[in-house]
């Protein structure tokens, strides 16, 4: 089990921006923290990013035919603290 730093490149590919400092609010328990500090499972049929507090799957990235698809249904809010940019 690693953290969001391990998938920083993939996240940039998917979101088009540097994402490690972006703060996610967990849809399960409301915990907030930068994506760099999430619990990341990379050895699966996809990348699973979980909330450190409650294990809710915040984000799942599945690669299919060279294209990465990201599902963020576990994130209630995603925002960059410095610029205020939201996804």
């Amino acid at each position: 089990m690693l953290d969001g730093n391990a998938i920083a490149g993939t996240m940039t590919e998917v979101f088009g921006a540097e994402m490690t400092l972006v703060v996610a609010t967990c849809a399960g328990c409301g915990a907030q923290g930068p994506l760099a500090e999430t619990a990341v499972y990379v050895s699966a049929p996809g990348i699973v990013v979980r909330c450190r507090s409650c294990d809710t799957a915040l984000m799942v990235v599945v690669e299919r035919d060279g294209v990465c698809c990201v599902d963020v249904r576990g994130i209630a809010d995603l925002r960059e603290p410095a610029s205020g940019r939201r996804w």
């Binding site: 953290d3 540097e18 050895s43």
Partner: protein, 240 residues
């Protein structure tokens, strides 16, 4: 952020299992200390494997250096440390990362806690600090199994005591004769001895295997350090 082809100009054996790969990268945009690159290998049948490696060189250095530890089952690391030769090309993208980054402007004092190959991004930070002739005080606590397994050993020993830099090793499995440094795995007491007090408001960077990082980061929080001033980066195998 596109894939680029870097050229291997030199390979430096750091320890038995660790090699620094010195690269030139056309149009390299520069990087910040603590960032990493993704490296991608492609076999003739099209099979690809990708891994992330921290940049060991400072932004001020002329070349880009990656330091790679060969893992027992490592599909990529056993290629990079063993097969890769001077003159080979290596596909990489980056620099990557905005969180686990230190630059002089962020100030300090700086607490760097590294385990095993976790020293790599921290070494880039130390090199950057020296290159900038910064006065930010630095304390490094580096955990390795033995002195032979300390990466950048001579460089770090030379840095110790130089203008505000304090380097401490803890050698967990084997110590040389006469060793009077630390000799145990990282724990709360060790962190308490080395770390600045919370009142001094250090910025802490902790990097290494997941278990190591959790012990060190939890210890810092327990000591009263602000979580927002503790940055963590967990290393581990990522291949299947």
């Amino acid at each position: 952020m596109n894939w680029r082809l870097a050229t291997v100009v030199e390979l430096i054996g750091e320890t038995d299992r660790t090699t620094s790969i010195v690269l030139t990268v056309p149009d390299w945009p520069g990087h910040r200390a603590g960032q990493h690159v993704d490296v991608r290998l492609t076999a003739e049948d099209g099979y690809q494997a990708q891994r992330s490696y921290s940049i060991a060189s400072a932004p001020e250095d002329d070349v880009l250096v990656l330091t790679v530890e060969r893992l027992d089952d490592g599909e990529v690391s056993s290629y990079l440390v063993g097969e890769l030769r001077q003159g080979d090309e290596l596909e990489l993208r980056g620099p990557i990362g905005g969180y686990f980054v230190w630059e002089e402007a962020l100030g300090g004092p700086l607490l760097l806690v590294g385990g095993g190959s976790g020293i790599v991004p921290l070494r880039a930070m130390i090199r950057h600090r020296f290159a900038r002739r910064s006065a930010v005080p630095v304390r490094l606590l580096y955990s390795a199994r033995s002195l032979d397994e300390v990466i950048y050993r001579e460089e770090l020993l030379a840095a110790d005591g130089r203008g505000g830099v304090d380097v401490r090793f803890t050698l967990t499995r084997e110590q040389p004769d006469g060793w009077n440094g630390y000799d145990r795995r990282i724990d709360g007491d060790l962190i308490a001895e080395v770390a600045w007090t919370p009142a001094e408001r250090p910025i802490a960077y902790v990097c290494g295997p997941t278990a190591f990082v959790e012990v060190a980061a939890d210890a810092l929080v327990s000591l009263g350090h602000q979580a927002g001033r503790i940055r963590t980066e967990r290393f581990g195998p990522t291949g299947r």
